[in-house]
Symmetry: C2
Subunit: 186 residues, 2 copies
């Protein structure tokens, strides 16, 4: 059994690569059993991000399809974005909804906090369920308009079968919201 | 509506930062509407990864708690790892089980493919459900033994409330397996 208070000690750290967006740090670690390792990790903005499952009515979710450079393909997922400095997560969620699907939300409910690959990143995303949508458009900084896609929540299995709906955080959010609705109806 | 065949054109690319693990590429893009942007993306190994939800019996899952450098904390999640060059995903899944929880699996069922942040990465993970476990230990390259944690699947909501169980891919895998079991019993 690991003593979880016995974190490895970081005995050295240095930036080994840096670009406009990414900062890669190498750290020297000594584990509590004396084992030594060098690991790399990515330093983030620390700003956090939000992802929103918007319900345009009680049966229908709204998703967006947008260009993803990592895969050089269009991918389907829920609206999301970084929290601006000083911004509350709820305000970021409402701003992203207005920029990406041209709706604000009267009601945002907390669903979960998701981390992305904590072995390498410190990237936290707060997931909200958005209800009570009203039309409201903000200009974003997208190079082209996102494709807005409505999907009946009853057909979530059909959504899971789309070969461009594969992002882990969107799938986690979908399944947590499905579970939440199931719980409400049981 | 976006013509999905009309991917932006990559008119230039260059490595802007590189470390032992990471290779960051800057690309020049021209979108179909003429808009130009420079994006950064991370080039991966292209090897793919596996994540396994192991059932030690029909009611109990097995997880591991391990040190994550990105967050400098111990995190709870399902066994996972990279696919070795030339290795089949199923074989990688069985190898990771033997290295991390000291069990092999007679039965591996495909659950899903998950991508991590496709805006920046091209990192694909195949999720398996593992049943029919038998004791079998392989040596891994971990600096310290992983803590092995059994969790009753009926208490998945308790697992979701653990503040060290937050990794998006583990949560997606858990909820997809819950949904699969629900479907089998409906």
């Amino acid at each position: 059994m690991i003593d979880k208070n016995q974190l490895p000690e970081i005995t050295g750290k240095r930036t080994v690569a840096k670009s406009a967006l990414f900062n890669i740090e190498q750290i020297d670690l000594t584990f509590s059993n004396g084992e030594k390792r060098q690991y790399e990790r990515m330093l983030g903005s620390g700003r956090g991000a939000v992802l929103i499952v918007p319900m345009i009515n009680k049966n229908t979710m709204v998703l967006v399809r947008e260009y993803c450079a990592g895969t050089h393909s269009y991918q389907l997922g829920f609206p999301k974005g970084l929290i601006d400095p000083g911004e509350q997560a709820e305000n970021a969620a409402n701003r992203e909804l207005k920029e990406e699907i041209f709706f604000g939300a009267d009601k945002l409910s907390y669903v979960a906090e998701l981390m992305m690959a904590p072995a390498f990143f410190n990237a936290k995303m707060t997931v909200f369920l958005a209800e009570g949508l009203y039309e409201c458009k903000l200009e974003g900084d997208e190079p082209e308009p996102l494709e807005i896609v409505e999907w009946p929540i009853a057909d979530y299995k059909g959504l899971l079968q789309q070969n461009d709906f594969t992002e882990a955080r969107s799938i986690a959010a979908l399944m947590l919201v499905i579970d939440k609705f199931r719980g409400n109806h049981e």
